[in-house]
Amino acid sequence: EADIYQTPRYLVIGTGKKITLECSQTMGHDKMYWYQQDPGMELHLIHYSYGVNSTEKGDLSSESTVSRIRTEHFPLTLESARPSHTSQYLCASTRGGSGNTIYFGEGSWLTVV
């Protein structure tokens, strides 16, 4: 069982609000990722990190930002939420090296009204 946790699991917020999605893993993994996935659709990589103080944007452009101050923590922030941000956000981590399994959190379902 993977030790990667996301909060909140479900959130409904108003347009213009600031929101931070939390992600923590207790496996000591160096690499962490954020994916965005609409229901029934593909996974889009929006941010990744190779370690502390390392963050990069993924393949899909996103208005969100991330930080990696501690190895175990990789929060994602939306400064001003819009309805187009409504989606599921999946955090993931892997130990590193070639071909290591990616462990996903249970996801955060965000609805912006």
Partner: protein, 111 residues
Amino acid sequence: GQQVMQIPQYQHVQEGEDFTTYCNSSTTLSNIQWYKQRPGGHPVFLIQLVKSGEVKKQKRLTFQFGEAKKNSSLHITATQTTDVGTYFCAGKKHSGYALNFGKGTSLLVTP
């Protein structure tokens, strides 16, 4: 960038029928992984293939990695309702920084 194409997008079968999903990359991969996502859930790792021509089995599931390491397949024999979900392949280039996921194949199994 690297493209990982997966077909079909959807598949609806009767329980007991076989099912296959295919994954193709435009570039040679160092390895390929398969994940399953149940409806409303998160992707869960199934298996990793590394060697050219590799074949691995997990009960009714058979995974293959092509000789050129550009394609892969997942075959389920005699599907059951518990097989319902979306199956994703994810490939990694030798110099790649992250796995590149296919769009997934959603499998529906009716009794």
